[in-house]
């Protein structure tokens, strides 16, 4: 896969290295220092940092402003965009603004429904869905056009990403769903957190069988468990999450104060295992409010130092 944008992440993946990304959730306040602190923890250990867009439909400092902060720090952001809150006018306008600051990665998402967040009474938008947002970015970048057909004199140079959840239902449709996003223009995929390796491998096999891994870089998603409580919550409460019982048993098998370490161990072992799986192009580590652990995970998983590209 050749490179088409100035994105460092794209260059690393195109050169055949495992890519490593992570994410920082902005604060529920206007304290921009929070994002900067989180980013400092992970800066040298990852290729790019996703900034979530009002994740779980909770109002937070906006992804765009946070990405600009990272850019000013000299880091490489991935702008997450959900279609829940903005229509195509707002989305395209934000894309232009992001590109003007040299933000070259975008992750196109539909977003969690607002009923999960802090404003369940909100009107939602869903003018576009994630696939249509992918199409939109591609149109702006490759055809120098807005959805209206209006010409762009300067085009945003975005490496286009999308998410996929191999564990959501119906399972049979999950490879097709990815194929559709690739057809729309997705170039990299960050997956939902993986705990069920067998099911992930089955999905990955489906991807490889269709040759999709040659068209899109797949970054396997990981979130280390902090303890049994978190594992049970993820299993029972988070839609589309597949946490097998043996993970819960393994965490239960160690004393409470050791559980965070065990969670990290599991995460590292899983990354090691997936490094051997055909089609896996890298890892997306979502250490929710635990960013300081990312360097350890990256190092112990054998993904450090990060490659240099120009």
């Amino acid at each position: 896969m050749s490179t088409t944008t100035p994105s460092k992440l794209q260059k690393i993946l195109a050169a055949g290295h495992f890519g490593v990304t992570t994410e920082c959730g902005p604060p529920r306040s206007c304290d921009g220092g929070v994002v900067e602190e989180k980013a400092k923890h992970v800066a040298g250990h990852v290729d790019a940092i996703n900034v979530t867009d009002n994740q779980t439909a909770v109002v937070r400092m906006c992804s765009l402003a946070s990405c600009i902060r990272l850019r000013i720090m000299g880091l490489e952001p991935v702008l997450q965009m959900v279609t829940r809150d903005r229509n195509r006018i707002g989305l395209q306008s934000d894309l232009l603004g992001a590109a003007s600051f040299g933000i070259n990665n975008v992750l196109c998402l539909t977003g969690d429904h607002q009923s999960f967040g802090d404003h369940p009474e909100a009107a939602n938008v869903f003018d576009l869905d994630s696939t249509q947002l992918i199409q939109t970015v591609k149109l702006m970048r490759d055809d120098a056009k807005l959805l209206s057909g209006a010409e762009l004199k300067t085009c945003p140079q975005m490496f286009i990403g999308a998410a996929e959840n191999p564990f959501a239902d119906p399972f049979d449709v999950r490879v097709s769903r990815l194929a559709k996003k690739v057809a729309a223009g997705a170039q990299f995929i960050q997956t939902q957190c993986i705990y069920n390796l067998d099911k992930f491998k089955k999905w990955m096999q489906g991807i490889v069988d269709r040759g999709l891994h040659e068209k899109v870089h797949i970054l396997a998603g990981f979130t280390p468990m902090k303890g049994v409580g978190m594992a049970k919550y993820m299993k029972n409460r988070v839609p589309g999450m597949d946490v097998p019982d043996d993970i819960i048993k393994r965490l239960q098998g160690v004393p409470k104060e050791k559980q965070p370490d065990e969670g990290i161990n599991i995460c590292i072992e899983h990354i090691q295992e997936l490094k051997e799986v055909k089609g896996v192009a890298g890892f997306h580590i979502m250490a929710i409010e635990w960013e300081e652990k990312v360097p350890e995970i990256v190092e112990r998983a054998g993904l450090y130092p990060r490659p240099k590209v120009d």
Partner: protein, 222 residues
């Protein structure tokens, strides 16, 4: 059919408590089917209100009627002779009926007696569910006859999202995932190939987003 449900009686009491003579006007159309606003519901509401005002000692006269439809002038004209006797009307029709009465009897307060909810079907006796959001440009031909606009919580055109599990929507375990339904039906129809083609952004102009809508059929205008 347009589905509606009865407003809480306290809300209706609050709407009418400053009047003396009230007409409860039902509609024998859609709202009768969903048991929110036909003759039977007019009777039930009228007697509940009479009991309420009897208890509070307020003098209130309550009349009852149900029209064939409140979305047609021809039928709402039937109120012309009797409406003068009343200070206000509580309409048990959908919001369209309430507005049409108000348009025709412009000096009379017309108050809503039901909450109008959606376009749907009688799934089983006593259970009504949404099927169409009246988007004005129907795409059912390509989605196996199941509407992604009305039946996916995120209105996705290229679903399912990552939140679907066991055939249920991420929003609520009581809601069937519209995209699971679409997938299952496309499979039955042997049309799964349709699924992989990205559907481009929808034109919402034909939906409410284009402003209030109108259909004109010239041949019927005479």
């Amino acid at each position: 059919m347009i589905m509606a449900k009865a407003k809480p009686i306290e809300e209706i009491v609050d709407e009418i408590k400053d009047f003396k003579r009230i007409l409860i006007a039902g509609c024998n159309g859609c709202v009768t089917v969903c048991e929110a606003g036909g003759m039977k519901e007019v009777e039930v509401l009228a007697s509940a209100l009479r009991m309420y005002f009897k208890k509070t000692g307020q003098d209130m006269e309550i009349g009852e009627i149900s029209l064939t439809r409140q979305c047609d002038k021809e039928y709402i004209k039937e109120l012309r002779d009797g409406i003068g006797k009343y200070d206000a009307v509580v309409s048990l029709a959908c919001g369209a009926g309430v507005q049409f009465l108000a348009e025709m009897y412009e000096t009379k307060p017309i108050l809503p007696g039901v909450d109008t909810c959606f376009i749907g079907v009688t799934e089983e006796p006593g259970v009504w569910t949404e099927r169409c959001a009246a988007c004005g440009e129907c795409m059912l031909a390509s989605t196996g006859g199941i509407c992604p606009i009305a039946r996916c919580s995120k209105r996705m055109a290229n679903g399912p999202c990552g939140g679907s599990s066991d055939g249920k929507c991420e929003v609520n375990k009581e809601i069937a995932c519209g995209w699971q339904l679409i997938y299952d039906r496309l499979k039955v129809l042997g049309q799964l190939d349709r699924f992989e083609k990205p559907v481009s952004p929808k034109n919402w102009k034909t939906s409410r987003d284009g402003g209030p809508r109108k259909i004109i059929r010239e041949v019927s205008r005479q």
